[in-house]
Amino acid sequence: MTEALPTLLFVAIVLGYSLWQGFRHESSTVGLNGFFLMNKSLHAKALGTSFVASNISVATVVLALGVVGYNFGFWGAVWITICWISGILLFAYLIGKEPVREYLRVGHTLHEFIGEHYDQPGRLPIVRLAASALTVIVFWGTIGIEFFAGFLVFTKLGGGPSPMLIALVIAAVIILYTIKGGYRAATIADWPRLILVCIGFLILGVIAFRIQQTSTPGAEPLFSLSSLSRIPPVWAFASIITLVPVQLSGMDMWQRCVAAEGNISAIRRGLFLSLPLNLLWLVPAYVGALAKSLNYTPAHVNYVVLEILDQIKPFIGQWWEWIVQPLLYGSLVATMASTIDTLLMSLIFTFMYDMYGTFKRIDYSTLSETEEADLVVRSKFWTGMLGLSSLFIVFVGLFMATLYDLIVTSFALQIILFCPVLFVILTPKRDLTKRRILAFIGLAAGFFAAIGTIILYLTMIGDPRVLSAAPIAAFAATLIFYLILVLLSPKAKESTTIERDSESA
């Protein structure tokens, strides 16, 4: 217990800071705009830091990229980073295009945007609901995956309390401060946590470099271009299909842009300023690749980075317990908090605005103060419910799938929303609402293609190439239906955004 005490204390400080931010910003969550969009006052720097901090998650970056480094070499991780940055650039470019540009200034959610262009006014918005359901499933699952990653991380903390107990405490704190402080607490608290994350990653990188220098090189080359041959073509293609569209189809990105009041230049500035920080992704991959290069065989390849952490201790000596371990675990908890609070806010925004609001027929533009306050209470209640229920994924992880499978599933489902948005931008002169059933089927087809492939992988085939094919199948299925939809749609008379503007005027 004494060995883990400094680490636990430091983790408690990180959580305490987040909690303090939540309570501090509670007064700003009286209205829906305050709770979900921090009253549209997100500026470029906060947007950039929040974007990077929430995307460096323990599950996807720390653990999954370690696996990528181990299985496909360092260049595999470089390829992933290139795809990711391409996705950011594509997003930055497309948000400048109409009708997205105008929508971000006056709109609310990604699904509302999709619904505006595919659903017929006065009828049940099935496309909007289907798109929202996809986001809710994906984000809910991703939050659970992150909690599961937290549980795994703390299994390696020797001498500490039960990892399940720590994971539950962390979950409770994150959900609680998100309920209290809303989007402001989730965003403003990110930059100090990002500094901590950077420190943690740098320490990990420096230690790995020292190990590399003091060890005998193995048969597997680390940085040699010949290791490019380890990258499977199917996986490389799946990475493009997954990571390039992921920003445009992510509700968290749309929420950030709307919170920045659709100020395109500020959004782009924030994204570009934070771009170099995305290179931090390479550190866990480097650790994974180094493990392979030194002929280290992990007990479980999916958790190779965690096993390496165990091996690091002898290289550090006394500093390990008092400085290095607390900083590493503190940064991992900060990473978790930054990711989960953002996802939770996007999840609840989608749930309340697109699903709850639609079913309850709430007109968010004509709410009285009392009604708005009541909806904030309801939103906070559902934040707690959905946050807590996402812990179910921890059990799924314990029983069935591995972390890597869960991550691929969530990405495969998220990119389904890329096609609907892309075709709205590409075909401004088409009236897509005439084929709303086809739009709905397209989303459903993407969903079933992804889930079917994953089930096939988990139950029958077990070939990693089938797992990589899940995002490709989801993307292809959606693309086919949306191509047919666009071809069958008649020409539009007027733009939807212009209609809305004239109505509001």
Binding site: F381, G384, L388, F392, F395
Partner: protein, 213 residues
């Protein structure tokens, strides 16, 4: 809501309060007895103390919820109308008794093994679900009888009970998953008990938040 102007009689309020108080006192007494016996027989360890304290917190929170509901004019009016309706009195009170008996048994089991505690929690969650469902039916029945079903969404208690049903369902799934985890040796019993208490406390916090101040 304007139709529901008749205040509950002092007798109804008093009997309701005494009924709940009696059971709560009984459970707290049982908890203290069990804790004291365990202490005397030197079987009281750190985890037992945590269980004891957590259960006390849950009970006090339940009591606080009851007070919030029973002292709020909006709720007491509806509660009174619901309780007064002859057909529903037995059902309401039977489910309340089930809930409190289960709480009592839960308190009795807490010093036993964690699996018993978990099974007790699952049964408790089911009985809460039944109780909340009946409450919702009673309120809906009232509005139907008044031909004012369109006003039901303005009823704070009806909305709150709907949220509690959500909590109950979540608790049932949670308990089931934990029991399976313990059965499959994926969790230790202590971890499972803490996970259960965590869910209890968190959901109670949410329920308390959801009740109109």
């Amino acid at each position: 809501m304007k139709e529901i102007q008749n205040q509950p009689s002092p007798q109804t309020k008093a009997s309701f309060t005494i009924f709940v108080n009696m059971f709560l006192s009984l459970i707290i007494k049982k908890l203290l007895d069990t804790g004291l016996t365990s202490y005397k027989s030197n079987t009281l360890n750190f985890y037992h103390l945590i269980f004891l304290l957590s259960l006390m917190v849950i009970l006090f929170q339940s009591f606080s919820l009851f007070l919030k509901v029973s002292t709020n004019p909006t709720y007491t009016e509806v509660l009174h109308v619901g309780i007064r309706r002859k057909l529903h009195i037995p059902a309401l009170f039977a489910s309340m008794i089930t809930v409190f008996v289960l709480l009592y048994l839960l308190a009795d089991f807490f010093s036993g093994d964690a699996l018993t505690f978990l099974v007790g929690s699952l049964a408790l969650a089911f009985s809460w679900l039944l109780f909340d469902f009946l409450c919702k039916l009673v309120i809906a029945d009232y509005y139907i009888s008044q031909s004012k079903l369109d006003e039901i969404q303005n009823d704070q208690l009806y909305v709150a009970v709907g949220r509690w049903i959500g909590c109950d369902v979540l608790l049932i799934i949670w308990s089931t998953l934990i029991i399976i985890s313990v059965h499959k040796a994926k969790m230790t019993e202590i971890e499972a008990a803490f996970a259960m208490l965590f869910a209890f406390s968190f959901l109670t916090y949410l329920v308390l938040r959801s009740v109109k101040k």
